[in-house]
């Protein structure tokens, strides 16, 4: 179903570089005395939620933070490795806000909003300042000044990093700022809570229903505004680089309450991850993209070559990225690198026993720069690889393969980061805003932190300015009652099926369907088949899933079951969106739409829009709204890295 319906992205007028400044000046303010009377719920405490919650509390709002882990420090932002971008131009290599903006817009294959992306670039430097002041030990050179490195998809060095643990250091800085506000009494922390439902009163977001994961108790929490910073749902593919409990349930709850879901099919499959080794695997650990700065990617030029990589002579190695993309070589963007790896493996040139991996080799870098320099840059990553595989990357090439990693798609938000539900905001990976059809490396931490530290704290005031007379929202009204009942109903239903198959077995099957038909390459026939298969699996799930244990107790299986139940709906949305988009752009590669040399063929005349899906009802499919992308400053060009 399709409807031309209008979405107002609230993009300010005027020249690109003045939009944010002008917009900020036009937003209404809430006085310090009134902020004290306003409550805000923030779900999630990663780079986005943690920074937002701390900053909102510093401003004087009363903040309630929810996470499903035992501590806010454990949000999956903690795992991000390679770095965070900013346009400081410390390297004097011609970087600027404009260049960062242009790289991101182009990297995203012109499927993001100019104004949002420019703003992300514009505030990037403040983020580095903020993190350094908070004690983040970013890498420095011997002069004592901050160091930078380059990352995929760009030709300047603008990435700030802390070895392979940049995300950990940034997340902890946000966590520590949050901790300071908890101590100050401005933040109330609710750990080990699954937020399962959003509560609307008179159409406005006014609270959430959460399950206390320790006691099983269903709780009601109210606020004047609600912020979802719940991260990505790449776990829908089962195996991914995400934490095993990462999920899309909060986003899906919002969607079912009327928030539009944007570009759900834009899912990033990251090129440098550990390959699938066996059936038990629960996780595909990422090997940071920064490794591609010095590592060279290759496969044998002979089909089915099972030799030890050290025995394959130089003239029998195919450095296929350098061959196909001489300008960018191993630093092509992720989508391009992933597809190229798949192409080689599908053609029979893949490495290792399974033939589903490629080599990432540091031999030449070590020869040129020495082991110590390479160790300084990638030591933690090399150790990580060695711990998992037993192979020493200083001596032997790594084996890698693409894996599900990041969701560019997410809740639709306007320029203020508000969803289509008044008073509900979405930040970080949970929204769709800045990365279009493909995210460039080191730009997510940047976007998450920007959203949390510098955008939301400003824009939310404009909404709350109308709420200063609204007293605390009571939780005993019919809306809370109904939302709570819905959650209880769903959980009891899951418990009562008492079938014969485990939750994980369903999740695995679902992941396999999506990976096969809606992964790095897609086509109409496969997508239609996948839609059918997901629907059947979903039906089977509700008839035959087995959830042991009790409702009123710590029950990991029940938590998983609720998440997987939502993954079915998300998967259907992903596939529906992929089917709608009869073009190839970024990570969305439809086999029917490719150039003769196998590159993505975009169709700007028909598809230069954000697809925003509206929930109708459980039986009818979602309704499509198109937000046309207007390019005032940049003319979309064919994305070439050759």
């Amino acid at each position: 179903m399709q409807q031309p319906g209008k979405l107002d992205a609230k993009i300010p007028g005027g020249p690109l570089k003045d939009k944010w400044t002008k917009h900020k000046a036009s937003l209404r303010l809430v006085s310090p005395a009134n902020k004290k009377k306003l409550d805000i719920i923030v779900v999630g405490a990663g780079a986005a939620g943690g920074s937002a919650a701390a900053s909102l509390a510093e401003l004087g709002y009363n903040v309630k933070v929810f996470v499903f882990q035992d501590s806010p420090r454990r949000a999956h932002s903690i795992a991000s490795q390679g770095g965070i971008n900013a346009s400081k131009n410390y390297k004097n290599d011609s970087d600027s806000d404009y260049r960062l903006f242009h790289d991101m817009l182009k990297g995203g294959d012109f499927r993001a909003r100019e104004a949002n992306v420019y703003r992300a670039a514009e505030i990037s430097n403040n983020i580095i300042d903020q993190y350094v002041a908070s004690g983040v030990p970013f890498a420095r050179d011997y002069s004592g000044y901050l160091d930078n490195r380059s990352f995929g998809g760009v030709q300047v060095s603008r990435t700030f990093y802390a070895q392979g643990q940049t995300g950990q250091q940034c997340t902890l800085a946000a966590y520590q700022a949050l901790s300071r506000q908890i101590k100050a009494g401005k933040v109330t922390m609710f750990s080990r809570r699954d937020v399962l439902e959003l509560v609307l009163i008179d159409g406005k977001a006014r609270g959430v229903i959460a399950r206390n994961l320790l006691t099983g108790e269903i709780e009601r929490h109210s606020a004047h505004a609600v912020v979802f910073a719940t991260g990505g749902f790449g776990t829908v593919y089962y195996l991914s680089t995400l934490a095993i409990n990462s999920n899309g349930s909060a986003a899906l709850a919002a969607y079912k309450k009327g928030a539009f879901m944007a570009n759900p099919s834009m899912a990033q499959i990251h090129p440098t991850c550990l390959p699938v080794l066996n059936d038990y695997q629960s996780k595909l650990t990422l090997m940071s993209e920064s490794l591609r700065n010095d590592g060279r990617i290759w496969v044998s030029s002979k089909k089915g070559d099972k030799r030890n990589p050290l025995d394959i002579p130089e003239n029998e190695r195919d450095y296929y990225l350098e061959r196909r993309y001489p300008a960018f070589g191993n630093l092509v963007p992720r989508d391009v690198a992933s597809r190229a790896a798949k192409e080689r493996c599908d053609a029979g040139y893949g490495a290792g026993e399974t033939g589903l991996s490629v080599y990432l080799d540091f031999k030449d870098a070590i020869k040129d720069q020495g082991e110590e320099v390479i160790g300084n840059k990638y030591g933690t990553l090399f150790d990580l690889y060695r711990k998992i595989t037993g192979i020493n990357p200083y001596k032997e090439p790594m084996k890698i393969y693409p894996a599900s990693h990041y969701t560019m798609g997410g809740l639709w938000v306007d320029y203020n980061l508000m969803t289509t539900i008044p008073g509900l905001y979405a930040l970080g990976e949970a929204n769709f805003s800045d990365h279009g059809a493909n995210r460039l490396g080191a730009s997510s931490l940047m976007q998450c932190s920007g959203d949390g530290y510098f955008i939301l704290p400003v824009t939310i005031g404009d909404y709350l300015a109308d709420e200063i007379k609204t007293p605390q929202i009571p939780t005993d009204g019919p809306e809370f009652e109904e939302a709570e009942k819905a959650v209880e109903g769903k959980l009891s239903k899951l418990m009562s099926v008492n079938g014969s198959q485990t939750v994980s077995s369903f999740h695995k099957k679902l992941g396999q369907i999506l990976w096969t038909h809606s992964g790095m390459k897609r086509n109409e026939k496969g997508l239609k088949q996948a839609l059918q298969e997901v629907a059947e699996l979903q039906e089977e799930f509700w008839k035959d899933v087995k959830v042991p244990g009790k409702l009123e107790h710590l029950n990991h299986e029940l938590e998983k079951a609720a998440r997987v139940a939502d993954f079915f709906d998300l998967a259907k949305l992903i596939i529906t969106d992929a089917l709608d988009r009869n073009e190839s752009c970024g990570a969305h590669f439809r086999e029917e739409y490719q150039t003769e040399d196998g590159e993505a063929q975009r169709d700007d005349d028909r598809y230069a829009y954000v697809s925003a899906w509206e929930f109708t009802d459980e039986n009818k499919g979602p309704m499509l709204h198109k937000e046309k992308l207007v390019f005032e400053t940049v003319t979309p060009t064919k994305r070439s890295y050759k």
Binding site: D129, G135, Q165, E557
Partner: protein, 246 residues
């Protein structure tokens, strides 16, 4: 390979708890430790038994959510890894593996292998931060930091808050944990301003939360999956005395 597992099961904090023995016939050396536990739990579910509870999230040694006492050692026999990174290749056919939750007064058991580590959050809340309010930061390169000091800060800053140090210490002390944070900020110019107050409030909080004292056994350093050094404790002690006399 065949493995026998003795797993600590405890319904709740009030329950006494005890070991239950499970036999597994088909453990692959390619599994990680939690993947092995997953597979046992899958079997238990299929046999209509209630699976046991254990925490994990990132499964790549960075979130600090996992952490089990395995054969009398935190995170088992492999050096420098978290429980989720422990490989089953460290065990051999016929082994019996005993699995317990962290044991520390400050970490009460919640259920089976899951413990409450919120005390670690409370330590950070006591002063483990630099009070840099959003928006107030100066230009990042305005504060040069020598590479050497920055590297010390990084090495201390990689703590994942898993609680291994506490679990490995016979006094259940959190000295390594707080000293890592104190050190990270003590060597950075940005952190100096609050250094005195930070060390005092964090140490006081550690005592208040029921963690034990440090008697320099060094078990924490030996077991820390992130190889955080005892030298952080020495630095913190210096900071502590400096704060006292100044």
């Amino acid at each position: 390979m065949k493995i026998t597992l003795k797993i600590w099961r405890q319904e709740s904090a009030q329950d006494k708890g005890g070991f239950v023995t499970y036999k597994m016939d088909d453990v692959s050396t390619e599994m990680t430790f939690p993947e092995m536990l997953d597979s046992l739990n899958e079997d238990l579910i299929k046999r209509n038994e209630v699976p046991f509870a254990f925490d994990s999230d990132c499964r790549e040694g960075i979130c600090g959510m996992c952490g089990l006492y395995i054969n009398g050692r935190p995170n088992g026999p492999q050096e420098g890894v978290t429980t989720c990174q422990l490989n089953m290749s460290m065990f051999k056919d016929g082994d019996t593996i005993t699995i317990e939750p962290w044991r520390a007064k400050a970490f009460p058991v919640i259920k089976d292998l899951v413990v409450d580590r919120t005390a670690l959050d409370k330590l950070i809340q006591a002063g483990g931060f630099i009070s840099a309010k959003t928006g107030a930061a100066p230009e990042a390169n305005a504060i040069p930091v020598s590479k050497e000091e920055s590297d010390i800060a990084f090495d201390a800053g990689v703590c994942i808050g898993c609680g291994t140090c506490v679990a490995s210490c016979k006094n259940a002390s959190a000295m390594l944990f707080i000293s890592a944070k104190v050190s990270q900020f003590a060597v950075l110019p940005q952190g100096r301003v609050e250094a005195k107050e930070r060390v005092q409030t964090m140490v006081a909080q550690m005592d208040a939360l029921g963690f034990g004292n440090c008697t320099n056994t060094g078990a924490c350093e030996a077991e820390c999956p992130k190889e955080i050094k005892l030298s952080n404790i020495a630095r913190m002690n210096r900071e502590f005395y400096k704060a006292k006399i100044s």
